[in-house]
Symmetry: C2
Subunit: 326 residues, 2 copies
């Protein structure tokens, strides 16, 4: 059997790392934007304790999804791996990947933050299998094409229960491809629960760090900052429970704060880095979706609400300022 064809859309740090690992057993094409010239010429270079130092040249490097679709028109992509920032307030991922999706054939794999990222995919490609992945990894693109990765990584590879199409076979194969690349990938039947749990941290620490300018350790050492982390986190846990999950509020809060103290010293969440770089933050998938889900269930979540609203407005301000510079 020939190697699976994979298209990676979003070739930053996450997209680079997993393209590289999948390339051990697959033919990977990368859509690159700002790093196109470098990656097309030299490939990606990596510095990782877990995976080593290496250079990876993709099978193809292209500038757009349409260009990828034109490469070998008769052979559909088996997988499209989406590793773009999740910004439904700015673009629709479904529109971006559409040219390379073969209905009923291509499996769409999302490695994205937040909640609700599968919705536009299922709505636009109801006949395609979907694999929804939550990543736990510390990595960044330190300069175009150069990717640094600290510590370990793991992927929770899941089923999105609101999808109409079974993904059992495709998920099994994809797990196998990941594991051949040395990735720590585990299989779950309901990825939504994992996404909620990751939000307990990401919807509380991230916006508090972004708004106050404090890193995780500074937040932990400041009574008021930690109070807002806990208040927002409590709202998010209660929202998850309103959706039918059964998380113990105090236990989850304790675990999240405790783990941050032990493993995330002086850390700046991606939302904070985005804000400092005057890039849009992933507000809707991290704060907006849980807020809407809670409100739909009639739950009052005032701490989450005000945090969503000011971060959303801060994003709008970033866009206003960019426009005024044009």
């Amino acid at each position: 059997m020939s190697q699976p064809r994979i298209l990676t859309v979003g070739s930053g740090a996450i997209g680079g790392i997993y393209s590289w690992r999948l390339s051990k057993s697959s033919q990977v094409t990368n859509v690159c934007r700002s790093n196109y010239a470098i990656v097309n010429e030299n490939g990606f270079s990596f510095d990782s304790k877990k995976f080593g130092q290496d250079v990876f040249k993709p099978h193809n490097v292209v500038r757009t999804v349409s260009e990828a679709a034109d490469l070998d028109k008769d052979t559909p992509f088996d997988y499209i791996l989406v590793t773009m920032k999740a910004l439904p307030e700015i673009y629709n991922v479904a529109d971006i990947i559409a040219p390379a999706v073969t209905p009923g054939k291509t499996t769409i794999v999302l490695i994205q933050n937040g909640l609700g990222v599968e919705e536009p995919i299922v709505a636009n490609f109801p006949e395609n299998p979907i694999i929804s992945i939550v990543a736990y990894i510390g990595t960044s693109q330190v300069s175009p094409g150069h990717i640094s990765m600290v510590g370990n990584e793991s992927l929770v590879v899941g089923t999105y229960l609101r999808s109409k199409v079974d993904n059992t076979e495709q998920k099994k194969l994809f797990l196998d491809l990941l594991q051949k690349g040395g990735v720590d990938a585990v299989d779950v039947d309901d990825v939504e629960r994992v996404r909620w749990q990751k939000l307990f941290w990401n919807a509380s620490f991230s916006p508090v760090c972004a708004m106050t300018g404090m890193n995780t350790s500074e937040v932990l050492n400041n009574k008021e900052a930690l109070a807002s982390v806990r208040n927002v986190m409590k709202d998010v846990i209660m929202s998850a429970n309103a959706m039918g999950y059964e998380f113990d509020v105090e236990e989850q809060m304790h675990t999240m704060v405790d783990r941050t103290e032990k493993t995330a010293k002086d850390y700046k969440p991606s939302m904070q880095l985005d804000f400092e770089r005057k890039q849009p933050m992933e507000v809707e998938v991290i704060l907006g979706t849980p807020l809407r889900e809670a409100k739909a269930k009639g739950l009052a979540v005032p701490y989450l609400e005000v945090m969503h609203d000011i971060c959303s407005a801060a994003n709008a301000k970033t866009l206003l300022d960019k426009k005024s510079q044009l």
Copy 2:
């Protein structure tokens, strides 16, 4: 009768303007810090539509309150006018003015933002009359000693009901001194009510502008920013009502938003300017005191709480960064 002796502590825009107006009928000494050299040499210069263009040379310019106290030891100051930023989290105004306060004699006049600014004064100088003033004015020190003032101004000159000392006579005289200087000063018996009402705006628009980076017009045009303004404002109005006032929540919210649309276009509140300049914001007197008052009454004010907590942490971060630069 000789002219009253007035000492102004805090010689920025507000301190400069009202020292100038009071100098028409009083002998004014100014404590200057960053603008000492310029003001000592040339006085303050003003550019105001209401009061005209002028230069004002204070009777004395000093660097510290102690220096002022040494000027004419046998004649107490009749009034100490405090126009410093209200930052109880950083300094205690009572300690700063102490060298120039003659017990039982000097009247202490506060032109400061927020709620609770009188508390440390009453605690430290229980025998001295106190006059508490709320200012409505748009003015700034554009360069050291040079003060620009737009539009009109007005002062609400009040009695602080928790004071143990009657201020009737001193307030009447001080109103007269202000009015001789052309100031639009009105007399009220309970200044606390006016302070609360000013907070409806200042505790909602100001932190939302500061955290989002939006000016007032941008906030009014953004659904989420305006939603957080309204949510926080509602909490503050309910807090005022819990303290015994009777404000109509919807009417106040409508008035505040409507007035902002009409009279505060593209305006940046002082809290926002402080944040942008990496100066401490007046968080405690604007957000902290109403939060504590509400909590003491058993009222839940989650929107106000989270806004207080992140602004307080942002202030702490400003101080951390300043320390690390030393």
